[in-house]
Structures are given as C-alpha cells and as structure tokens.
C-alpha cells in the first residue's frame, strides 16, 4: 500500500518554489503552513483515468446568466425579441445567427450540453459554485480554494525552469458578486492574478523606458534591502518570504514575454471588440501564446442579470449590449487559438491543447417576460458550451422541453442532469488531474474532495462529460 502523499511530495523543492512565489506567506509569524495530506486514491484504485488531452483551460464565465432561450438553447417563446433571426447552422443546430454572427462561424468547433442543472438560484451562491466547483458552505468557506488555485497547485510540478507567468490568471473576476476566491487551505503562491484588462494594458506593458526605470529603481531597492537583510531576519519567515514574492514579481515584469503579452494591436481591438471582454479574450490569447507558465485563465463577463428590460434597446443595459461585446470576443479567441500552431507539433493548434468552457451560473425564466420586461433566474435547465482539446464540435447533448423549462434528456448515461461538479471533473480530466483525490488535514478537519459528489441535496455522479469528445 503506497503511503499517503503530502502536498510536500507533490510540490517541488524549496529551490523550485522560489522560481515562483517562494515559501508563500502563510505566516504573519502567527500561523504555520501544515503540509496537507492528499490522499491520491491509493487505497482503492481510482476508477477515473484522466485524459490529459489539454495543457490549458480557458473558462469564460457568462456571469449574471445569459438567457439560454435566446442563445444556446433557442426556444420560441412569447418573450422572445421580435428581431431575432434563427438559422439552421451547417451542423444542424438552430441558432440566433443575427445576434451572434461571429460565434455562428465557430459553432462547428463548439459542443453544447443543454441539460445542466444548478442547486443555486442566487447569484452569489451560483457564482461561488462556478468558481469553487462546489456549493457554498459558509461554515467552511474560508478554507475552500478556487478551482483555479487547485489546478495551479496540481500543475506546479509541470512548471519548467523558464516559466515565469502565474499559472492562474483571471480577468474581471472582482466584478462578479463573489469576487476572486482565496486559496483557502492552499498556500498563497497559488493565488489568482486577477486583472482588470484595461488597467493591465497600461500597467503591465512596460516599454523600454519603463523597464529601464524599473531596473534603476530596483537597484536602489536591492541596495536598501541588502543593508537591512540581517535586521529583517529577526522578524520571521513570513517577512522573508514576502521578498521572494517581490523578486518573482520583478522577474515577471522584466521578462520580455510578460509585457509583450499585454500589447494588442488595433486589428485585435477591431476583431475582439474594444470592450472589457474583448480585451480580456485578446490578452488570454496572448498569455497562452507566450507559453510561459499560464495554464488556467478565468474570464468573467458580468452584467447579464436582466430582470428588467432584457430586450429593450432604449436602455443602456440590456442583453443586446452584452451580446455585442461577448460575440466577437469569444469567436476571435477560438479562431485565433485555432490558427496558432503549437511549438512542438505544427499539425496541432493551440486550440487543440486548450479546453475552452463557457457557461453561466444558471439560466433565465422561460416563457413570457416578467412584469418589468425581463427574465428571472432559472436553475432547472441551462446549457454549457465546450470547445478545443479534442472536443467534437457542432454537437448537442441533452435537451430541454419545448419551453426550455425542464430537462427532457440528460445527455449522458445518468438519469441525473450534469452539474458544475461535472464540469470540474471534465476540466481536471482534460488537464490530466485525477479528480478522485481528497485532501485531508484541512484546517477544519473536513475532507476536501476534488470533486464533491454530495452536491447540495444528495449524491450526484462525478463523472466527466466524456460525451463532448464524441463517441
């Protein structure tokens, strides 16, 4: 029987840790970082064989919830806007092509699963669910890491000597209700780099002059640090470790690949759209193209919560406006990833190595619009979309009823509808992570399973959605 591995076994040596982030700052001298026991399915053989078909994941959170009825699970309804034009795509799917002209072009690469269900109807809980991969439990929330942080800790061993970029990057995560979740029981080095895309363009793209200035200032800083090195030692490990982070940060800023990733052309702005989601997607493409260590990118486009005047063009804020930003951004991202050959194998594209997932935290109420001309939250059935990493595009799995209200076909072998937990399993599998793992020795003592079968109301199957790969 193999011994239980500790996080220490999975993590590289201290020397390697210094490559990115150092020891981390679990301590303000007051806490200790206990090595966590990760039980990696060693006592019973895991029934899961992770696919390992993806190097990267892009998760686009359509936050606030897009109306599935007028997008990826189109249904005629009394509330549908008059100007919507639905066409049958070459793949046989009915899709509002005039609303999504760009995404229509890439739908042959996208697999839709229309049978999702959520426990949650409330944004904060739903958005938490999407980011943490499990329902919010306020009793333990402090120690629960985001999915991206767990991925970062798992992929740490794969970071190369040359990797300087943070593994887990997000855009606009702080704009959703739940914000960017912490690393929970994991050390701080796996924390997300949450960026505001417009600010990042300004702050991260150092030109020659800015780089020189930074180097000059850094010399002064290093000089002062050297003078104080002995004196600062007496304050404990946490303070030392901060300086590790600082060194890593500077390395990142002066690694020419990082500022290069934050340059976008006028053509990019046109194709992706000069909006926040557009710039986020362009930057995501850049980060992946640099192949410098970023592997998990979470893009959040918030604001879809149109309880009122969802299809009213006279308001500033309606679904039309958000679709106008979303449509070119996501399409350009998928197209550009598909057009980028990978470094190793010219026949494969960056899209072949990247699993793209886009979904909301739930759907919107079907049928007629509500009393303020909007749609409200709907958890009983809603779709999630997948592309890249060998996903068989142009397919649909699962179905809802004529209204788009309830599920009529779960789209896989189980009678239960798939949930976010299954997206989590799919993501882990694609990255080659065995999702049957559990972490013991959390601060609360409660076991943290990588994928939680309990859900909010009972046991759910924790399979991945292998159907999206065809066959």
């Amino acid at each position: 029987m193999k011994p239980i591995r500790t996080i220490g076994d999975i993590l590289p040596t201290r020397r390697d840790l210094l490559r990115y982030g150092g020891l981390g700052l679990a301590a303000a001298s007051a806490e200790t970082f206990l090595p966590l026991r990760v039980r990696a399915a060693t006592t019973t053989p895991s029934k899961f064989r992770p696919r390992g078909n993806a190097k990267n994941v892009v998760f686009y959170e359509i936050s606030g919830a897009i109306s599935h009825l007028e997008s990826f699970d189109f249904k005629e309804s009394p509330g549908m806007p008059k100007d919507i034009q639905v066409s049958k795509l070459s793949t046989g799917i009915y899709f509002p092509t005039n609303f999504f002209p760009n995404i229509s072009r890439v739908m042959d690469k996208v697999a839709i699963v229309r049978s999702f269900v959520s426990h949650e109807e409330v944004h904060l809980r739903g958005q938490y669910y999407v980011q943490a991969g499990r329902p919010l439990n306020v009793a333990f929330a402090k120690e629960i890491p985001s999915l991206g942080s767990v991925v970062a800790s798992e992929l740490e061993a794969r970071r190369r000597e040359s990797d300087t970029f943070p593994t887990y990057v997000s855009f606009n995560l702080e704009t959703n209700q739940v914000g960017a979740l912490s690393t929970g029981f994991l050390p701080p080095q796996y924390s997300v780099f949450d960026l505001n895309p417009q600010q990042a363009l300004k702050g991260m793209s150092l030109d020659q002059k800015a780089t020189e200035l930074l180097e000059e200032r850094w010399r002064v800083l290093e000089g002062l640090r050297e003078i104080n090195r002995e004196r600062m030692k007496g304050f404990g490990r946490g303070v030392e470790a901060y300086e590790d982070f600082s060194v890593t940060g500077k390395k990142l800023l002066t690694d020419r690949r990082w500022p290069a990733a934050f340059q976008i052309s006028d053509d990019d702005r046109k194709r992706y759209g000069n909006s926040s989601p557009g710039i986020s997607c362009a930057l995501a493409r850049n980060l992946l193209r640099q192949d410098a260590g970023t592997r998990y990118i979470h893009i959040c486009q918030h604001g879809w919560d149109h309880h009122r005047r969802i299809w009213d063009k006279t308001t500033d804020d309606n679904h039309y406006a958000l679709i106008r930003d979303f449509d070119p951004a996501l399409a350009a991202l998928i197209e550009d990833l598909a057009a980028t050959p990978t470094k190793g194998d010219a026949t494969k594209s960056l899209l072949d190595e990247t699993l793209v997932v886009f979904m909301s935290e739930f759907g919107r109420t079907p049928g007629p619009l509500n009393f303020i001309l909007g749609r409200d939250h709907h958890k009983y059935v809603f779709p999630a979309m997948f592309a890249g990493a060998g996903v068989k595009g142009g397919t649909v799995r699962g179905a809802s009823d004529a209204d788009g209200r309830f599920c009529t076909d779960t789209g896989w072998d189980h009678k239960e509808q798939p949930r976010i937990e299954n997206v989590v399993a799919t993501i882990y599998s694609a990255l080659g992570i065995d999702w049957s793992k559990e972490v013991h020795n959390t601060p609360s003592g409660r076991v943290y399973p990588y994928v939680d079968p309990l859900g909010a109301n009972g046991i759910i199957p924790i399979d991945e959605l292998s159907g999206i790969y065809g066959g």
Binding site: Y20, G21, G24, L25, A28, S29, A30, T32, V122, L124, Y128, L136, V138, A139, A141, K142, P166, E174, Q177, G179, S182, P188, Q189, S191, F193, D194, N196, Q199, K202, G203, L214, R217, V220, L221, G223, L224, R225, I227, N228, R231, M232, G234, F235, G236, A241, Y242, E243, F245, S246, T248, G249, K250, L253, N370, F371, I372, D376, S444, G445, R446
Partner: protein
C-alpha cells in the same frame, strides 16, 4: 527591573567594539530609544568569539528563563501572559523601541502611520508614562473612530444592500466609537432595531443587510411581505448575531443537528440541534422586513422593520436551506435556555439575554484582543467551542481552546465592570508590556511559542491602511468623493457657497466604491467587498507587482502636485536632509548611515529622479508594508 533592560542593551553598545555609536546621540549614557536598529543587531546575530558574542550568549541564554524584572508587568494582562511564560520556561522578546512602538500603535489604533512631527513630539516627551499618554491621545482621536468604524462595517458586511442607509450606519458607528458608547448598548440597539426606514434608523441597517429575497415578481401592494423570505431572514440574523456578538458559528446547526456532523469540529455545537437554532431564530419571529415599494418594484435595501408578525414558523420552507421540519417555536436563548419575559418585546429580550451572557463579553474582548495582538486567545475569534473553555473540564481527545483561559475571563470581567467600554479595553491591552514587546525575537523561534505571545506578531497592513500610509508618506491624499457643495439654488438665493472636504483616506469611506486602477490595487491587497463570506486577507504575488507598477504608487513618488518629494527638493539644498525626511515620513525612522550614503549617492547622480527613486524604493520595502 529597568536596570537589567538597560544592561542588556547597553552592554552590547559598550562591548560591540566594531560598531560605532550612532551620530544622533552624543550623550554619555545612550538613550536606547534613539538607537538605530543596527546597534541592536549584533546582539542577535553575532556568533563571533568576541566579548560581544560571549555577552550575547550569556544574555540570551539568560532569557530562556524570563526574568520577571526584565520586562515590567504593567497590568493583569502581563501577569497572566508573562506568568505563564515563566512557568513554562518560554523565552520572550524584549520591549519594542519607542520608534517601533509609535508606528505600531498608531497603525493598530488609528490605521495611520505617524508623521515626523508626531514622532518627534513623542520622543521628546520626557515623561515616564509617555507611551500611556500616546495611547490615550490615539484612542481619543477621530482616526480611531475611522479605523474601528471601518472594522465594524466590514464585520457587518455593510454595503449596497443597505442602500442609502450605509452612510447613516457608518456615521452612527463612528459617533458611538468616539463617544465610547457602552458596547452592550450598541449591540443591543442593533439587535432590537426597528423603524419605518433604515434610512432614518441607523441601527436597523444590519438587519436590512441580511434580508433574503423572496420570489421575484411584482409586489402586490405596499406591504408585500413575500418579496422577502421572512423565515430565512430570521435565520440569517440569528447567525449574524451569534457570529458577531457571541463569537460562535451557528450556521452549521441552521441546517441540521450537530450530532453526526460536528463531533470533530465543535464539541459544544455537536450537542445542539437544529430545533435549538430555530428557537434562537424565533427571537426574530415577530419581526417583519417590509421593503418599500415604488412602481410595483420592491426596493431591496429600503425597509420598514417592525414586530407585528405572528411568530417563527418551524414548518416554513426555505430558499437557502433544507426544509424546516416543525417543532417548538417559542424563543429560547441557545446558551442558557432562557425564554423572554412575558409581555416584553421579544427582540429587546434577545438584546438583554445576549449582552448579559458572559459569552458576549468574552467574545468581544477576544475579538479586539485578536486584532491588536495578532492572534486571539481563542482563534479564530468567531469559532468558539464552549465545551472547551474550562481547563478542568476538557473533552477527551481535545485541547483546551483558549490559550489563556484565566486571562480571557479577566479581560471579560474588566470589560463588564467598566461598563463595556471599548476605550478602556483598548487602553488596557495597548498599555500592557505584552502588547509592547518587540516583533524581533532573539534566538530561535519555535512554533510552539506562538500561543504564549512571546513576541509581537507582525501583520501586513490592510489595503486601506496601505493606501493611507502611501498617501501620508508622499503627502498626496486620496480622493474618495464626498465633497458637498451648496446647490446652485442656494447660491442664487444669496447663501454662502459651502464646500465640505472630500474624503481623502480610504479608512474614512463608508463602503468602498472604487473603480479602475485604485480598485485593482485595493483588491490585490485584500479589500473586502462585503458581499461574499469574509476571505482571509492573504499575501499574493500580485501585491509586490502592484507596489512596483501601480499608479497609486508611481504617481505619488513624482516631484509633482505638491508631493513630499517635490516639497523636500524645493525646501532643502542638502540632499542628506531630503533623505532624512523621506525616511522618517515613510518608515518612521531616520536612515541608517549606510542607507543615507546609498540614497544621497543616488540623488547625486540625478537629484529629482534620484529622490523619486528613493521614495519609490522606500514604499517597496517590506518594512513599509508590514506592521511590526
């Protein structure tokens, strides 16, 4: 007792022959408080077989059995803390120097770094009790109200869910803190608050904040109670009051019995049932949360709160939790099973029962003790396990929860006896030698020393403190809006145009509403958005990048817009003086000789850019980012 302390330091000064005495002091007997830190350092690092090294060994090994006379025991806190260290043979740090102390206590009590004038005034104060006088001055300052009002706003997660009530609530908290309103009175007013509108009754805002929305859709009429899930809101309030006022996490038993779930988590709560929780929530059972309705739309943040509901329905459905299963619904206070007196207002009774329960005082003193000392006697401070508080009665397989059970009781007693005065509580804690220990620990630190408070724990500045420290150090205040001008009409009427000052410090803001670069900066440093469950403010690799590149810093280091760099360059021809002032304003200390040499040489190459770069470097030192 003081004698030994001086000997401890003084000896090193005499015998560390390699070190020159600092140029700041020419007295025969060096004033320890003026010593730059470099003089102390050979004490802790030198292993060379010099006399200084030998003396260091002797002195530090002497610390292994802490001499009661080495650090004065100023109050009952010290008796407990140093007494325990003495009994268990735990070494401790020496007292912090005056310079370390003034910066630390200013940040801890008011969230601000001290100005050069304030530092000099303090160091020049000849009185023996100058630290006590400084503490008193800080507690009585408006910035004390700012910092602790902000803390309470974070605790109550005060945000847009209070709509316009958020500023009123903030103002009320600040006024209460500055007036040293008895904390039991403040807490009681929040629990029992009711009124036509939370825009008028400040204390009702936390209640409004916790509302759980009901079914979406039109409001039938102005009193449409279905827009709010009444039962779930009762539950949320029971959880809130349990957490904030009793330091207990009742959210688990809000869903299920403790038995079968909490045996490994919380022994006391594992004996409680969901029905006990219902009966605690039942104190809110008569309360109605009625949103104001405009154009058939309910305003989710503008409420009437009254007590005309029939009572808690233990069979009511839930939006957030497992269905309620029935059972007794008469209110019963969870800690002592007491019922409200017949005829009394039920929530007033909750206020009375809760604030008079010993756990209220214990949780409160522990929470503020944790904030000031870095770790609570019970930690985390909202996870009390009441079955593990008595040293003579600890359940099998468990440890006693409080590190200093008698001290916790003593603090709670003192708090009660002094009419729940927060000013007094803060004063007693900050005046203790335990609080005033240095963060630098001589010798090898062991994790097991943590529970003894053997040193002061360092902490990273909060996002708000950091912003304000940067603004103060560089003399470039922030702008958080809030400036009010007279209306054009008033001016037209001949009234004098009135302009009130805009809010310049992050700590003065009622609820953060930043955007753009400032928002990115504040969030990187852990600013709470008060919507989500509180997340631990943790370090991240993005933080040093922010300090290096964010305009929050880079804009302020420039010799422009009347910044400190600009003013110093204009006022002083002597680069050394500019450097001295930059260090004091930023780090609350003068430069070490080597630092001064380095900084002036940087300025010699290019005066303006050099000064800017020095200012930048100072803001990027870990010494600036942390409170020691």
């Amino acid at each position: 007792m003081k004698h030994l302390h001086i000997l401890f330091v003084g000896a090193a000064v005499c015998l560390a022959a390699d070190d020159k005495p600092p140029s700041t002091s020419s007295q025969a007997t060096p004033d320890i408080s003026q010593m730059p830190a470099a003089v102390h350092s050979p004490l802790f690092q030198s292993k060379k077989p010099t006399q200084a090294g030998v003396l260091t060994e002797r002195v530090t090994s002497g610390l292994a059995k802490p001499d009661a006379s080495a650090v004065p025991r100023r109050n009952f806190i010290d008796n407990h803390i140093f007494g325990k260290m003495q009994r268990d043979g735990i070494p401790h740090a020496p007292l912090a120097t005056d310079r370390e102390f003034i910066r630390r206590v200013s940040l801890d009590l008011t969230g601000r770094i001290p100005s050069s004038n304030e530092i000099q005034e303090f160091l020049d104060d000849p009185s023996k009790d100058r630290r006590a006088r400084l503490i008193q001055k800080l507690i009585e300052s408006p910035a004390f109200g700012d910092k602790w009002a902000y803390f309470l706003m974070d605790t109550f997660r005060a945000n847009g869910k209070m709509m316009r009530g958020v500023s009123l609530f903030h103002m009320m908290l600040k006024d209460s803190l500055m007036a040293d309103r008895p904390y039991n009175d403040l807490a009681g007013s929040i629990m029992a608050a009711s009124g036509k509108s939370n825009y008028v009754v400040a204390a009702a805002n936390p209640i409004v904040r916790e509302h759980v929305e009901g079914k979406p859709g039109e409001a039938d009429h102005a009193d449409d109670l279905r827009k709010i899930h009444q039962m779930d809101t009762h539950d949320e309030l029971a959880i809130l009051f349990g957490k904030v006022f009793l330091g207990m996490n009742l959210s688990c038993i809000a869903c299920h019995d403790g038995k079968g779930h909490l045996e490994k988590v919380n022994v006391y709560l594992s004996t409680k049932k969901r029905s006990d929780f219902f009966r605690m929530a039942a104190f809110m059972g008569n309360t109605r949360y009625i949103p104001h309705v405009e154009n058939k739309e309910a305003k989710m943040g503008h409420f009437t709160v009254d007590d005309l509901a029939p009572g808690y329905d233990t069979k009511g459905d839930s939006m957030l939790r497992i269905k309620r299963f029935g059972g007794p619904s008469a209110p019963k206070f969870i800690l002592n099973d007491e019922a409200p007196r017949p005829g009394a207002e039920v929530r007033e009774e909750l206020a009375r029962l809760l604030t008079s329960d010993p756990q209220f005082a214990r949780a409160t003193v522990n929470m503020f003790f944790a904030k000031l000392m870095g770790v609570g006697i019970v930690d985390p401070y909202d996870e009390f396990d009441l079955a593990r508080q008595d040293p003579n009665n600890v359940p099998n397989g468990w440890e006693l929860q409080p590190s200093h059970p008698e001290l916790l009781n003593a603090l709670a007693d003192d708090f009660r006896k002094n009419n729940y005065s927060l000013h007094r509580l803060f004063s007693v804690i900050c005046n203790s030698s335990a609080y005033q220990l240095s963060a630098r620990f001589p010798g090898e630190w062991k994790e097991s020393y943590t529970k003894y408070y053997a040193r002061k724990f360092v902490r990273m500045l909060s996002a708000e403190e950091l912003h304000d420290a940067i603004a103060t150090a560089t003399s470039r205040p922030g702008n958080f809006g809030g400036a009010r001008r007279s209306s054009a009409q008033a001016v037209a009427n001949g009234e004098e145009a009135e302009v009130s000052q805009p809010v310049q410090m992050a700590m003065q803001v009622a609820a953060p509403r930043n955007s753009g670069e400032l928002k990115s900066f504040m969030q990187a440093f852990g600013q709470a958005n008060r919507g989500t469950p509180a997340r631990p403010s943790q370090p991240s690799p993005l933080q040093p990048i922010m300090l290096m590149r964010s305009s929050v810093v880079t804009d302020r280091v420039l010799a422009a817009k009347d910044s400190r760099v600009q003013r110093l360059l204009d006022s002083y021809k002597d680069d050394g003086k500019v450097v001295d002032e930059l260090f004091t304003a930023t780090l609350a200390r003068p430069p070490l000789p080597e630092e001064r040499t380095l900084a002036t040489s940087v300025m010699a190459k290019s005066r303006t850019e050099g000064a800017q770069n020095v200012q930048w470097a100072l803001l990027n030192l870990v010494e600036f980012l942390y409170n020691f």
